[in-house]
Assembly symmetry: C2
Homo-oligomer: 406 residues x 2
């Protein structure tokens, strides 16, 4: 007998029939003798509808009231799931964020969980009652409803699993696991049986929309074993676990890509101390997130080219901020490019293997793909290339690292 947390995303509870199907999965785990807690999202589309109401009501909204409106979707699903479970003969009750309570800070709209009071829930679970917790929501120090940001129910589920000391946190979704690459563009992509927290974190932040990034951070911090699996199939999914649990480490586990980046280049920037701060300071103040940064060595004229990437949505704003704040730097030219894609090779194994980057550059060169920017971390190499090469580059790398399915 184990204690487990099950999380159902929006597509898994998109209508009452699906809520009943999800309840059947919960019933099966309870019947197997497990103590079960369930975290539920809003029905698919509901949160968007509520956000749309808020947008119609005011140009800029009080985030405390935004949270009151958008948290209603998870409340509905929690009650329905409790009813559907009771209908299968399993004792169950719903718990809203303030009832658990899920204590968060007061950063409304993207609050962070600070602690979860699980005493009541544990007592009920030990008495055989399934706890259905409304995901995405918590309660602030002054008793207002908070929400955790989009995809927040993943975080609710993992935080609950950590607080309950659960053996596993099963994330039911509309895909059957984590793949070596996006199956929509790489036909030979394989489902991974296991992936490390670090790899999942890179995959999540690089566009694999399977898990909210913060939920992976939280799982890593508390050592929560997470399983990503499908609500619509009966096959095992992908386990996200600590590196120690993976005996045969692949050098490269996956190839990710993100079309959300745009590139900005400042040519012939004077090469003197304080210039980088002068450029990136105003961007930071404008809350524009800069991702990759490359600065070449100085030329003979004591100036250099500086290239960096920002989110596509921030591109126009970023250009304006630079033009307004950096004119005194006497750079020669500001140029931008939205037609870029960031392609990343991820794997904890590359820590102990040389030549992984070289293999990437060779594979791309072999297809005639020019690399514009390179950035690396301990377990990841990312390059920026022209967007039109996305599929070609991802497939070439998938083959080059031996990830293709047979």
């Amino acid at each position: 007998m184990a204690r487990i947390v099950m999380k159902f995303g929006g597509t898994s509870v998109a209508d009452v029939t699906r809520v009943r199907n999800a309840a059947e999965r919960v019933r099966a785990e309870a019947a197997a003798g497990h103590q079960v807690a369930v975290a539920v999202s809003a029905m698919a589309g509901v949160t968007n509808q509520l956000v749309d109401y808020v947008d119609q009501a005011a140009k800029i909204s009080d985030l405390r009231e935004y949270d009151v409106v958008v948290s209603a979707g998870e409340q509905v699903t929690a009650g329905l799931m409790a009813i559907a479970l009771q209908e299968t003969g399993v004792a169950a009750r719903s718990w809203l964020g303030w009832q658990v309570p899920v204590h968060t800070n007061d950063a409304h709209g993207s609050a962070r969980i600070e602690s979860i009071g699980v005493e009541q829930i544990i007592q009920r679970m030990e008495d055989g009652q399934v706890a259905i917790v409304a995901g995405f929501q918590g309660v602030s120090p002054d008793g207002r409803i908070t929400t955790l940001g989009r995809g927040g129910t993943d975080t609710s589920a993992v935080a609950l699993a950590a607080a309950l000391g659960a053996e596993r946190c099963d994330i039911y979704t509309d895909v059957d696991g984590v793949y070596t690459s996006d199956p929509r563009i790489v036909a030979k992509a394989r489902k991974l049986d296991r992936v490390t927290y670090e790899e999942m974190l890179e995959l999540a932040s690089l566009g694999a929309k399977v898990l909210q990034t913060r939920s992976v951070e939280l799982a890593m911090k508390h050592g929560v074993r997470v399983q990503v699996l499908s609500s619509f199939e009966n096959s095992p999914g992908t386990l996200v676990v600590d590196e120690d649990e993976i005996v045969e480490k692949a050098i490269v586990s996956g190839i990710a890509y993100s079309r959300d980046e745009a590139k900005i280049t400042l040519r012939q920037v004077p090469d003197r101390p304080g210039v980088a701060a002068a450029i990136f300071g105003p961007l930071a103040q404008a809350h524009i997130n800069v991702d990759m940064i490359v600065q070449n060595v100085s030329t003979e004229r004591e100036s250099t080219d500086l290239t960096f990437t920002v989110g596509k949505a921030e591109f126009d704003r970023a250009v304006k901020v630079i033009e307004k704040n950096c004119a005194h730097l006497d750079y020669e030219e500001l140029s931008g490019d939205r037609n870029v894609v960031k392609i990343s090779v991820i794997g904890v194994g590359m820590r102990s293997h040389a030549g992984v980057a070289q293999q990437m550059f060779t594979a791309l060169a072999g297809k005639g793909i020019n690399i514009q920017v390179i950035s690396t971390s301990e377990i990841k190499i990312s390059v920026l290339v022209a967007e039109e090469y996305t599929e070609l580059a991802v497939r070439a790398l998938h083959s080059a690292y031996g990830l293709d399915a047979d």
Copy 2:
């Protein structure tokens, strides 16, 4: 400067544009220097949708979970109204039932308000903040969400007005007041400027769907001055007040009708002690509400005819209950009739005027309408007639009591 409560029903907040219009009305009252609390319903149609989800999830639902689901609609409107008000420049915040708190008993699905803790809200109101209270909901002694039954936001508003010692409780709805009769069938119906609690109570329970009956009881008990008025027009509505506030009392204030009744007659019931209890006991145990009861004086054979009415929806069940439990009474025949309508003449003035009933019987006789059952109370005379005479009877009585508009 006064303290007032404003209530907006589902049609008054049916979409975000209407929420903004309602907010504009609130802004105007706040700008006039009033301290304002607002009670809001769910957007029209939302509660029905949520009830439908519950019905799809299980045949019989845990009412505690039903309340979790169906209370979500008012939560959404409360947040949106707060946002819309802030957009007009007025300080506002939403209050959910558990936040106020609105303490109720634990009769989930139709809970009764036991007390409202208004200290926080009063403090905010005195600081110039408008309180937007989610209607229809409260919190049980053990911290679960409760709901007050359909139309419960009227009750929320009146209870709030009582707790706040408000000068007035304005109920904004889709009609512009209380009429002398249903304008859909009586073209000459007039809007009443004032009506007493007692009359409103009879009108509400007799099918005038303007106010929830319990809200009128509550207003009467606490002396809350209620105004019924339209969200869509700018004319004064109808004030529901104590009898003392009405100087010129009309003998008859209105003519109501209800097609929801069905008639059951037991012929030749033995006329001996305990028979009525033997018949109505089983009906009460089956939670069937009996309205009008008429028993004629005994015939020579020491038996009598007994006629009573039940809700049309309960008719089949009532007949079965009688057949199963009352066979030993040796009544001669059980007959039923669904094609009946109850027509009522209401007015506090009839307390001090004789001949009001006679006037009713004469008017109906004049149109050739046969009266099947009569029942009276201090301020009401109700008769049961064949349903086909509904319009004819209501119009005839409306004219007979001098209620027709010029």
